[in-house]
Symmetry: C2
Subunit: 259 residues, 2 copies
């Protein structure tokens, strides 16, 4: 059996999120159906984690096992010709059997995009949060950097989660701007349910002057969801990539990559 690591990009606006659910269209179901058709056996994939309805991915990572000897490049082309236009495969490579897209992930990177211009382009309605008006980028960036390091992020965890630990390590956390767009970039060892969107909701209150930059530290230490801002909507969120240790990542075998 070969273990194939696969990187996917998808426009989440047409799907009820990543994970298979009865009666609704999900990215996982769409990918498994196409893979099963190509490989002629039932395929279940493991992903680095689910994405919510409307959330996009530029570098979602999955892995699956197959006895098929189809070369990676051929499989990539077959997948891209059969998948709908809003899901694409950018990379497939064979990895050691121990590679698991979820459990061997070292870190994940997300970007959140806010458009601050008065009128939102009709081409961005599914791809950004529209928040007209001025945001204090410096205040937001100072607050974002307070998330760096290891913390208990209970204050930013969505309801209904069952996790062993609410402690996560954040390696990159910054707010920057380009033209009328504001971006929040965060890289961490892992993320709790709705964590990025709840952090964005809090950063927005700070950017609007409705909270002080220093409040971020207090919110973290209170470990209570009630003190953080609201959950930012899904359409501004992009799973940019998932990082793995080198030893897990490659077997030194052939790779197929396409831009």
């Amino acid at each position: 059996m070969r273990n194939l690591k696969t990187i996917l990009a998808y426009d989440g606006s047409g799907y009820h999120g990543w994970q298979v659910q009865a009666g609704v269209n999900t990215v996982q179901e769409t990918v498994e159906k196409i893979l099963s058709a190509i490989l002629k056996h039932d395929v279940r994939v493991v992903s680095s984690g689910r994405t919510d309805a409307g959330v996009h991915a530029i570098g979602q990572v999955i892995n699956f096992f197959t006895p098929s000897s189809i070369p990676e490049e051929g499989l990539l082309k077959a997948m891209n010709s059969m998948l709908p236009g809003d899901i694409k495969v950018s990379h497939i490579e064979e990895v050691p059997p121990g590679f698991n897209a979820r459990f061997t992930a070292k870190s994940k990177t997300y970007v959140y995009m806010i458009e601050t211009s008065e009128v939102l382009s009709p081409f961005l309605t599914r791809y950004a949060l529209h928040l007209p008006g001025r945001l204090d980028i410096d205040a937001m960036d100072i607050s974002a950097k307070m998330l760096l390091g290891e913390h208990d992020f209970s204050s930013f965890m969505g309801a209904g989660s069952a996790v062993k630990t609410t402690i996560r390590r954040i390696m990159v956390s910054e707010v920057f701007t380009r033209d009328t767009k504001v971006y929040f970039l965060i890289k961490g060892s892992g993320f709790l349910r709705h964590m990025v969107r709840n952090i964005v909701g809090t950063l927005i209150l700070i950017g609007q002057g409705r909270m002080e930059p220093g409040d971020m530290k207090g919110i973290i230490s209170l470990k209570d969801r009630a003190f953080a801002g609201p959950t930012a909507p899904p359409q501004g969120l992009y799973l940019v990539g998932v990082e793995y240790d080198d030893l897990c990542r490659t077997k030194g075998k052939s790779k197929a990559r396409q831009e």
Copy 2:
């Protein structure tokens, strides 16, 4: 009665084109419904011209008459709050009664976008033509420039058109590239049905080496649709703007513009 010139941008992927048709969702119908609701009287708008299903607009121009004294700025805000996210108003201004978005238009500008990378981003599937592989940009640009000036464009007219004259004047026509994208920019006194998409279909054959750059001149002079290339698909096409003579454009009254 005030005559209001209004500039619209829309993502055409969710609509059966501009023009009202029974039983399907069109941009014109959506805009007229919202305007009628805001202005409390039936509104019929005149546009610079129809756009086909799936074609986008960055600067479609319309005009309509209303006895309402609602300021342009207030109307713009009301429209943008009531219109669906994929249609937005960027500008409203009062113009003389003689202004007609269709008949006083001096020229129109279109852009067509081709993505040549091996895998199309899932975010571009509704917004570009995917054509992986190398295109000879120089050959395409040389051919594009042969369209400049006044010509009979019968060879590029879609079937089923009834027009008084097939002569049009082209002021700008060029092909350029940015990263893996190829753009065709054309500005003309007017365009026949499917004319831009039929020109793009021909330019692609030239870019792929299946026709010579010089063939463009022959195709124009043959005045026969059969000699031109196929109609390029709609999703790569954008109506960028419509230009009017200054004397028609403004009454020197208040303007509302938002970026």
